[in-house]
Amino acid sequence: MNPALRKLFRKNTPDAAQLDAFIHETGFPLVDGSDVTFVYRGQAEEVFLRCWIAGLDTAQPFQPLSGTDLWAATIELPKGSRIEYKFEVINNGNRQLILDPLNEVVARDPFGANSVCQADGYERPEWTYPNDECRRGAIETVNVGSAAFNEARDVQVYLPARFRRNRQYPLLLVHDGVDYVNFASLQTVLDNLIHALEIPQMIVALTQSPDRLKEYAGDERHAKFLAEDLLPFMSERYPLIDEARARGIMGASFGGVASLHAAWRFPGVFGNLLLQSGSFAFSDLGRHQRGPVFDPVVRFMNEFREQPGCPAENIYLSCGIYESLIYENRSLVPRLQAQGLNVRFEEARDAHNWENWRDRLRSGLSWLYPGPLWFVYE
């Protein structure tokens, strides 16, 4: 039992007032070295911890603490881990997924929000917080005609602070770009890293697909949209450095697949790829087990693994250790390295979520786009 709970129950079963005081004075979940104890207070038939960690059962049962309305579940989380979770509370046969009422730390994503458990040693990076000393970049919306999709699409464009038309800038195309801004603090991170001279002033196109599971899954039209519609549009409208090494694509999950696919279909166009938790499912033998939405991904990845070519000179990959995709991502690294590409791969004690991707932005961006820090001596 967690030491704080053991102390609470040391003499007698605590009464309601003691429980109230305990809840009021204690931060949750309870972290004791590598043991993390989640606590729920309330009447229920059953309570489960839902945390989507590869290698753990999806639902971890809570145990009632005798004579009280407290429930507790303990899991082992190595130092530096960060996971997202919910509680599943069952009352009268009804299952309800809820945020941890005792934990204020929450991560949002396009589907809502999750509670966040920060294990011993995890600290949210300072450069992900807004900094009043930084000048902020601006985001404007442009409408890009697409021959590939036979329609026009809105794209948001990040322009760095002190943007000047007589300069030339590197370009980054970001899949799920609006989500990156909303859920992974991308604009704040760009502002901060540019201010710290860790990345150069750059222009970032934030794309958002209306049907990402289809368009990002190795879809030819999407690759053409990036290379033949969006890139020429951006080059025409903004002062960009006209070199592959100053151009890059970024994406997470299916966005990682879309990034790799577009660079592979148009070799020599994009010099940099930033791929986070890419859904790089493949099959060596027989059918894959990931469901029909992955069929086109697996087709592409199998083809890619046969003939990887040179999608980009520099490729940064990151993946959470607690995601099932860690296997596919680890497998991809030696395949890329064998092509003579510059590859950097980072693993994090985190899972498939936006804050994992946020926390890796500094290392990925500053590796692909090193800033003028090297040249500045104040």
Partner: protein, 314 residues
């Protein structure tokens, strides 16, 4: 005033605490208006109100960064040629870095090697000699790449550059001292060269800090052991203005260098010898007269035994 009579007052970063005022007073710089070169601050160039308060003298900024913008806007051929040269220099720096990476790793391993002392010493010498040869080659290449632009567009061939050069010369002639701030060393050096300012400084008292100090030396060396991607090997960037000989400057060394890595410090020291690698931290002040160190306050140098030790005046 002859070059020999001119003082070079070399300082470390002016934050978190500034020492320019105290160092200038100690050096006994003359009264009068000072010219400032703040092109390293780029868009913040000429933002000199705070500096004016600290220095307590009338200041006039030479606005080299803004002048360059004006030139690039006005003369398209010059701008295109300049961009082409910069792209080639970047490419050269990239190629140099590719080779440097391997040689520097080999040299560091060799410096840490155990075994027969005489045999190891011979390999160390050769490993460092290889690095020095690469540095020389790179300097030669950067000079070669830069030369055509300099020959085609200079203060005698281009009326536009000549006009700016003349304006700058007049300002400098009316000032007793030139101050050169820190900032982006590449931008600063580029603008000094574009307007031929380096030649105007030879017979002037110059006070310079950080990047400003770096450009006064004969060689400019880029370094940072604590960047987000971890440490990188120091790189020769190019030749400086050569107003101070025998030194290579390492501003903010206590933050930017991993001082505890003695083989790394030793390598830097031996790689750039016979020049002295001078560490300029906040509070450092080095007065150079007639190519000799007249005074040195809180100035350190990198030593062959891998430590950073106090630099003493001659």
């Amino acid at each position: 005033m002859s070059t020999e009579q001119c003082m070079r007052l070399i300082l470390g970063p002016q934050s978190p605490a500034h020492n320019i005022d105290a160092a200038m007073m100690a050096a006994g710089l003359p009264e009068g208006t000072f010219a400032t070169i703040t092109a390293g601050w780029q868009e913040a160039e000429n933002d000199i109100d705070t500096l004016r308060e600290i220095v307590g003298r009338p200041l006039v900024d030479l606005r080299l960064y803004a002048r360059a913008d004006d030139v690039f806007r006005t003369d398209e051929a010059l701008a295109a040629a300049h961009r082409e040269r910069q792209n080639r220099l970047k490419e050269q720096q990239r190629l140099y870095r590719l080779r440097l990476k391997q040689l520097a790793v080999a040299a560091r391993h060799t410096l840490r090697a155990d075994g027969d002392a005489a045999m190891v010493a011979a390999e160390k010498r050769h490993a460092i000699a290889q690095l020095r040869a690469l540095d020389r080659h790179h300097l030669h290449r950067t000079e070669s790449i830069g030369r055509p632009f300099g020959e085609q567009f200079n203060v005698t061939s281009s009326p536009l550059l000549a006009r700016h050069h003349e304006e700058i010369r007049e300002v400098i002639n009316g000032c007793s001292v030139v101050l050169i701030s820190g900032g982006n060393v590449a931008v600063l050096l580029n603008r000094l060269r574009l307007f031929g300012v380096d030649s105007l400084l030879a017979n002037r008292h110059v006070v310079a800090w950080s990047a400003g100090a770096m450009v006064l030396a004969e060689r400019v060396v880029l370094f940072h052991d604590r960047s987000p991607q971890g440490r990188r090997d120091a790189e020769i960037f190019g030749t400086g203005c050569g107003l101070v000989s025998g030194h290579v400057y390492f501003p903010d060394a206590s933050h930017r260098l991993q001082e505890r890595d003695r083989s790394r410090i030793e390598l830097l020291c031996r790689r750039f010898a016979p020049d002295t690698c001078v560490a300029l931290d906040n509070g450092a002040a080095l007065e150079v007269r007639n190519s000799r160190v007249a005074t040195a306050v809180s100035v350190r140098r990198l030593s062959r035994d891998g430590r950073i030790v106090r630099l003493r005046a001659a």
